[in-house]
């Protein structure tokens, strides 16, 4: 009882105006949304380089036909781990980091609603990824059955198998706790006068994303648990010999997997919806219809999962349903793209690095959308499926889509976080190198897929040689360009650059620009006053 009282007194003192604790304990025990946001972002950057190195092993091997560097077993481990690390280690934590930093500041809240859970949801991640990456050194090597973990192949994984399952469980746990925190914060801690429909788009898209996470991460956890019991406890959920069905795993997996795709893109939609109005000096066009479009996309994401599996042998009516539902997604996605274009129309645009990344997002994500529409057409999909065309498609929506969105956000808010302007020249170099190389890497993959090259192969027929070499050169260029990104961030963190003003940009909208740069350790001890007419994005 006395301890509880003492703890509370201590807790109250913590929320006073003094700064962060010193040393390592600051990061281990922090409940501050900005510290936790920083932890997420740094973790994500490290994983981005880890996953990127794996991609470079893959692309180096594929530079020319024949096996030069690795054996097929290790090649498959690299493709599998690259995907798991990039999806669960780089892209998702980056968005959670941005949510932690920005959502409280954008809605005028002093912190996230559940700060201790916030600490826990971050610190689970390094544990999860230590487990996952340690499988590389286990007998039988890391998981090599693809990130989709299809049985029966995944059951042939060596000692790594239970560690794979356990690390996926931990990642899911972390995501769910992060999502709960986002929802509770947004629904309860908005400042006075900020009605739901007046929230900034980044907050909106994250709210929708958080619901998607809570809906589907348990489904993934269930699916991998069934794999675990099939392997060790004699069940036959996915084993035909015991009356199970391997395809059922795919249905369950993609019921998670398709919303997961939007989990990785909706926050990026929110980011560019913040950035384009700032640099066009014009309010976001059709704010409410953007909200409805994002919500429709989220809803549709639950009824299109089987378009990932048109070759498994579904009934005709099932194929027709999933084809039509998938095509329908083009409508709300189109609305978003048109609204961004309308936001730029008759604006007064300047092209700082965040805007450049947002524009590249707009063009290149749309290209990924086009190939997505093509993939919806079932007869054509039967040719595209599991070929490099699909690899090109999802890398276009994930790299210049999700990752360019994250990079745009980092350049946009870095001066607010650090109080220092990044080096604009280096930022532009980073942008142009990334944009050129991302296209050199992924555009030729469309041609390879159409010419008949399957994905996930370590070696290929000689007629695929030329475009593979081009893609490999692009990948190495893209990878090296990202060192520039790390350098630019490091310079800002070291306060090596001009001091940033509070507004940073030319009259940007949003509460985050009303606080000093760098943002103080505690913001909004009193709820900020906003007029009932104010537009927040």
């Amino acid at each position: 009882m006395t301890t509880a009282v003492a703890d509370r007194a201590h807790g109250d003192e913590q929320h006073g105006h003094h700064g962060p604790a010193k040393g390592l304990t600051r990061w281990l025990f922090t409940t501050n949304h900005k510290d936790i946001g920083t932890l997420y972002l740094v973790f994500s950057l490290i994983m981005f380089f880890v996953g990127g190195s794996m991609a470079l092993v893959v692309r180096s091997e594929l530079f020319t036909p024949g096996l030069q560097f690795v054996h097929p077993e290790f090649f498959n481990q690299m493709t599998t781990m690259h995907a798991l690390v990039m999806i669960f280690g780089a892209v998702m934590p980056a968005f959670v980091g941005l949510a932690n930093w920005m959502i409280p500041m954008m809605i005028g809240a002093p912190d996230m609603a559940l700060p201790r859970m916030n600490n826990w949801s971050f610190w689970i991640l390094p544990v999860a990824f230590s487990i996952l990456l340690s499988t590389l050194f286990m007998p039988g090597g890391a998981p090599a059955g693809g990130w989709t973990m299809y049985p029966p192949l995944v059951l042939q994984t060596g000692d790594a198998f239970p560690f794979l399952i356990f690390s996926v469980h931990l990642m899911g746990l972390s995501s769910i706790m992060g999502a709960i925190n986002v929802i509770v914060t947004i629904l309860n801690m908005r400042t006075e006068n900020m009605s739901l429909l007046k929230m900034p788009m980044f907050v909106w898209t994250w709210l929708i994303t958080a619901y998607l996470l809570i809906a589907v991460m348990p489904v993934l956890a269930g699916a991998v648990t069934m794999l675990l019991t099939d392997q060790f406890f004699g069940t036959s959920f996915f084993l035909a010999a015991g009356g199970g069905d391997p395809v059922m795993f795919q249905h369950i997996f993609w019921f998670f997997g398709h919303p997961e795709v939007y989990i990785m893109i909706l926050p990026a939609f929110g980011i560019v919806s913040e950035i384009i109005p700032t640099f066009a000096r014009k309010p976001l066009f059709g704010h409410d219809s953007m909200v409805y479009a994002a919500s429709s996309i989220a809803f549709l994401s639950f009824i299109v999962w089987a378009h990932h599996m048109f070759t498994v042998g579904m009934p005709l009516t099932g194929q027709l349903f999933f084809m039509f539902a998938t095509m329908l997604i083009a409508v709300p996605t189109g609305v978003k793209v048109f609204n961004w274009a309308a936001t730029m129309w008759r604006g007064s645009m300047t092209f700082e690095t965040p805007m450049l990344f947002s524009l590249a997002f707009l063009f290149l994500f749309t290209i990924g959308g086009f190939s997505g529409l093509m993939l919806a057409i079932v007869p054509a999909d039967i040719q595209y499926h599991d070929s490099y065309f699909v690899v090109a498609h999802f890398h276009y929506v994930l790299v210049p889509g999700a990752i360019f969105g994250i990079m745009a956000a980092v350049y946009y808010w870095l001066p607010k976080w650090t109080g220092t302007m990044y080096n604009e020249t280096l930022g532009k170099w980073h942008f142009w190198l990334s944009t050129i190389f991302v296209n050199v890497t992924f555009f030729p993959m469309h041609f390879l897929g159409l010419a008949g090259m399957p994905r996930r192969i370590p070696d290929y027929a000689t007629q695929f040689a030329d475009f593979n070499s081009v893609a490999s050169v692009g990948a190495i260029g893209f990878g090296l360009s990202q060192l520039l990104f790390a350098w630019v961030i490091l310079q800002c963190v070291r306060r090596n650059g001009d001091a940033a003003t509070n507004e940073v940009w030319d009259n940007p909208k949003g509460l985050e620009w009303t606080v000093p740069s760098p943002a103080p350790y505690h913001t909004f001890d009193e709820p900020p006053q906003v007029s009932s007419q104010a537009a927040f994005s």
């Binding site: 084809m323 083009a330 048109f338």
Partner: protein, 260 residues
């Protein structure tokens, strides 16, 4: 000779597009692919064109003043309705082709294809002809790490097998697919067939080849370490050549049986 080979290689290498293939449905698939592609190009020209114009015309450095409009119901309705119309135009022929793809009734012959790690097994139903089809020796030697063999010197590197599937031209061939171990997928681009081979389940597909020749594909579903090394080769021959081939195979099978 070398000049000819080089020219052929150059032609094959920078392939940009899907092949039309050798069945009526592979050509229909190709047509659908091109239709949706051109729709995408048309939309891209309009949308990207507008955005690029805006990027040049509405920039601050040219003295553009920002307008402050942020809503237009009519614009929102227009760019919701037009995509729906385009989608409907695409959906109808796609559904029609899909219905034909699924209609495997009244086949002239049936072949049961079983996937193994890492080869295919072909069984001509009711003909007592069945055999495995594995990666050709030449490719298998060259593919090993440090083999010292340049893949470019190997004919049909990784796309050649010891015993191809042989089918008659013009016949409706139904294939029944299953697997002995993990998932595989039987893919021949020129037949526009890609279908998963699933242990414990039978999948169905069909084709009617319209041209003779040799057509190559690969396993398309990750199936373990040698996933990249289980090609599919289909030889389409005239009906009488096929009959002769089948008779020889049956003779061999009977000799093996009587020897036992």
């Amino acid at each position: 000779m070398f000049g000819l080979l080089a020219a052929e290689r150059a032609l094959a290498d920078w392939t940009l597009n899907m092949r039309k293939g050798i069945t009526a449905l592979s050509e229909e698939t190709w047509t659908l692919h091109m239709q949706v592609f051109w729709w995408c190009v048309a939309i891209a020209i309009v949308v990207f064109g507008t955005m690029i114009y805006s990027l040049f015309a509405h920039r601050k450095s040219r003295g553009a003043e920002a307008a402050q409009f942020s809503h237009s119901m009519s614009a929102e309705v227009i760019w919701t309705v037009i995509p729906i119309i385009i989608l409907l135009i695409m959906a109808v022929p796609s559904a029609e082709t899909l219905v034909k793809l699924e209609d495997s009734r009244k086949p002239d012959m049936t072949i049961v294809i079983t996937g193994y790690q890492w080869k295919w097994h072909y069984n001509y139903q009711g003909e007592n002809v069945a055999y495995f089809s594995s990666l050709a020796r030449t490719s298998a030697d060259a593919r090993r790490k440090g083999s010292g063999i340049d893949p470019f010197t190997v004919e049909n590197y990784l796309l050649d097998v010891d015993r191809p599937l042989v089918v008659p031209v013009g016949a409706k061939v139904r294939i029944l697919l299953t697997s002995n171990d993990v998932l595989h997928a039987w893919w021949v681009p020129d037949l526009a067939i890609k279908k998963d081979a699933i242990p414990g389940f039978m999948n169905e597909a069909w084709f009617r080849a319209e041209h003779t020749g040799t057509y190559r594909g690969q396993c398309a579903e990750l199936c373990g370490k040698d996933h990249g090394y289980m090609p599919v080769v289909v030889r389409v021959v005239e009906q009488d050549a096929f009959d002769a081939w089948l008779a020889t195979q049956k003779g061999q099978a009977e000799r093996v049986a009587s020897a036992e």
